[in-house]
Point group: C2
Chain length 522, copies 2
């Protein structure tokens, strides 16, 4: 269970930054979406999680049916939606002489319609599973659910009426919301239908995660995480160009650092801006990356000047974790994210992230003509040297991580992105990894994104496309309407949380194919 | 299962009457009530239903406790309340990183806190059981529940938080509502503390049932029933004198008769005025009684003139059910209410109700100088004669009812109230019943009310008080905060619905001790 609970978590609020973030609060664009059909969920061993959906009737037929106690139906909205549900209920039969009791089960995937939430036994809070038990005292009436859901399917079960009446459901709709400027997306028009589809689904995924902030997943956790923000921002520059939302998120993080100046791994924005008490080495450093990418996309010098001190402080804190050899100090607890991969040692990939970020910081220092540039350059040299000297196993010809000298994909992907070896060596390294069966693998689309970008940067364009087709293409083949938080082509029930029911099936860090395709003209 | 579902139920709306009822819609008076203590429910074989409450801590201590997953507490509001619940929740620990899932169980009686609602297996809709499952996405926050509850106890169970936080509950309050003019009640100041208590609890019961209309029970069914209205109105004249509410209810019934002119046994007022498709011989006739009592209490001639045609029509329809012998035609289905007593034949008591009402109609016709008086007088003579001739068993010296010549308490109580025999004979009749072990008994406070009034009218004042002390006094001894829908001193788990969980423990037809005490100066 990867959680941090920090006892003495002192936050130093920067009200000026918080006010700026508040001013940038986006308007949400609303679109009314109607269900398209009634479906049933069927056991299907070929389908992901063992369940597939079958059409039973057009949605228009629903209003002809009256539902009594223990009767149910499943609506299909045709695509992934993030929004608010409302519907009319009218009684059929005698006047309703007792409240109506309904259960709604709201899901992104067939499995959520098929497997009872009661059966959930994972370690994340079951309260993320989207369901409602409702009592309706007055009929006919309109039910407007106040909570936002992330879904394609809605199961409606009549738990109780009375012997005197049944109910008919009408005018069901979803007010779908996003803060993305959808009109700004330029059509891709790709010749390869699979890459075109990947681009489409990436954009849909990103739009559904763009709300008041860039959320990581609209079903779960609905929060602004720095690691996810960095990738969302990159995809956004190539598509919606809703750049003020990136700016807002940067100010939010900069508004609530801890008493050492470290930005937290994530923040909450309701009921007010609150920094979570989770601090991650790599995520804090990605404040620098996100500011770097934002400046590169917008050339917004005012924001860069405002936020540079926060960025610099993340680098300083990152550097404080280096030992006398200039190697990042490893530890047992959950100190750096990198990936959800079970057993992954974080030392070497974190060293690479630090190097990656130092280079961006130096570039920004250069732009700003700040005096820290020579210091940063010197520390960079030391860190690169240390990586080569202490984290490289000459015999194995691999980077090693931690006391157990672990060889992992994450280490190498990040060392390639950190760009410390010549391009051909990077290419050779990634190829060599393919034969290293014992190397610790990758678990998340977040890590796969970095792998694909590493391939592209080391000249392996075809391999990169092939990987994308296997990985994101695999999700499409398995029926993804939006890209998923987690996907293991070899273990499609994989969840780091103990149950695939709680996985998020529209997740920000999975939206990058559009960035990769458009940036590298794949 | 006593329900009617009428296929061709044609309602003829009288918009003038409906408008008058609408104009009389009462303001609700609100009072903020706070919990007084935390309690626990304990098995107690001496207590009603086998459960009693034990104090565990003052309410003020609640805000010192943080509740995590699977932790719970029970609040005691000290007395029966009808109103709306609200409370603050604040997180304790890290910022809440997952929704809070709560279950509330809201009950009038300890048994509702003790026995899981899942175990309910009665024939009335389980949706009357007061419970909510809530998700709270944003903390800290205030939860304001939109539904009205009828309760003394509230169980709060934390079904889910996350490993990172617990929750604290604060500022819990109930906005209690009633339309009763509480300030108009004159203190009784009775020397007998039991009669004083009965008066107090009657008044509390009535107040809690006085809302937008006179409801039968604020927990269940929350509806305006004519039989209950008649008794509530009688208690109201002696206490709150909120007479416009009686007037409103009369207009509501008169506003939606069926196509024969019959007023229905009950009406719904939300989302708009709807007549239920239940027609009961006695309840329709009680429209006349309620109008009679209203006129006697208020001398409101305009309303009497308005509603006389509706009242007269109920009498005409009642008379249409007489056979050529002038005896009410019996039938198998649920055609007349009288009482919930299992196996009770309704013929003789219904004949008596008709006679009782005919006398009131004749009085009103007299006041109004309408031409129907002679006809009504003639039909009364026939009905009384028929009762004596065909429903009297000379050998047994009892009234008999139905083809099986059933002897019941209900028949005799109503024959006494119909006042067709000399006072001494009535007295003798009621005394004789005490020795008739095979006579079908009484099930409800509604029927006991009529029994006590029959005793009083036949000169058995001491027996009447004794009966009240046994029956309503029994409820008090068993812990009633308000008088109950159902009470059988010999079978305290009695429910006509298959489960005492669904019984209503604040029920209008049980509120008459104040009327009996104050009217008859007991």
């Amino acid at each position: 269970m990867n959680i941090q609970k920090i006892k003495e978590h002192v936050i130093v609020r920067n009200e000026l930054f918080i006010d700026k973030a508040e001013e940038l609060k986006p308007a949400l664009h609303t679109k009314t979406i109607y269900p398209i059909s009634l479906v049933e969920v069927m056991q299907d061993e070929k389908a992901i999680h063992g369940w597939s959906m079958a059409f039973t009737a057009p949605y228009s037929s629903l209003k002809e049916q009256a539902f009594g106690k223990k009767e149910a139906f499943i609506l299909d909205f045709g695509d992934h939606q993030v929004g608010y549900l409302a519907f009319d209920i009218r009684p059929a039969g005698s006047p309703p002489d007792a409240p109506l009791k309904l259960k709604l089960t709201i899901g992104e995937m067939p499995v959520e319609m098929a497997e009872p939430f009661d059966s959930y036994d994972g370690w994340l809070a079951s309260s993320w599973l989207q369901e409602e038990t409702l009592f309706v005292d007055v009929l006919p009436g309109r039910v407007e659910l106040p909570r936002r859901y992330s879904f394609r399917y809605v199961k409606v079960e009549v738990l109780e009426t009375s012997p005197k009446y049944k109910v008919v459901f009408e005018n069901i709709e979803c007010s779908a919301v996003t803060s993305a400027h959808c009109e700004k997306v330029e059509p891709l028009g790709h010749q390869d239908p699979l890459l075109q589809k990947m681009d489409d689904i990436s954009i849909k995924t990103l739009a559904d995660c763009m709300q008041d902030v860039f959320e990581d997943g609209p079903k779960r956790d609905r929060r602004l995480w720095l690691g996810d923000l960095r990738l969302q921002a990159l995809a956004n520059y190539k598509t919606f160009q809703t750049n003020d939302l990136v700016k807002r998120c940067l100010y939010l993080f900069a508004g609530v650092p801890n008493d050492k100046g470290q930005v937290t791994a994530n923040v909450f924005v309701k009921p007010e801006l609150i920094a979570d008490d989770t601090l991650l080495f790599d995520y804090s450093l990605f404040f620098v990356s996100t500011l770097y990418d934002y400046y590169e996309a917008t050339k917004d010098m005012a924001t860069l000047i405002d936020l540079w001190p926060t960025a610099l402080r993340q680098v300083e804190l990152g550097l404080e974790r280096l030992d006398e050899r200039h190697v990042v100090i490893d530890s047992e607890e959950w100190w750096s994210f990198i990936d959800w991969q079970e057993g992954l040692n974080k030392q070497a990939p974190s060293q690479a992230v630090l190097i990656y970020v130092l280079k961006q910081a130096i570039h920004l220092a250069d732009v700003l003509h700040t005096p820290e540039k020579p210091m940063l350059a010197s520390r960079l040299r030391d860190a690169v040297e240390a990586a080569k000297q202490f984290l490289w196993d000459e015999q194995q010809q691999f980077f090693i991580s931690g006391a157990d000298r672990q060889v992992s994909w994450a280490s190498h992907v990040w060392m390639v992105l950190a760009d410390i070896l010549p391009k051909e060596e990077n290419q050779a390294l990634l190829n060599r990894l393919l034969t290293a069966d014992e190397a610790v693998g990758m678990a998340t689309p977040y890590m796969y994104h970095h792998y694909v970008e590493a391939l592209l940067l080391s000249g392996e364009r075809e391999k990169a496309i092939e990987q994308m087709k296997v990985y994101w293409g695999g999700m499409l083949e398995d029926g993804a309407d939006t890209f998923w938080e987690l996907y293991d082509p070899n273990d499609k029930n994989f969840s780091p949380y103990g149950s695939h029911l709680i996985n998020s099936y529209c997740h920000a860090w999975s939206c990058t194919p559009t960035y990769l395709i458009r940036k590298y003209s794949l």
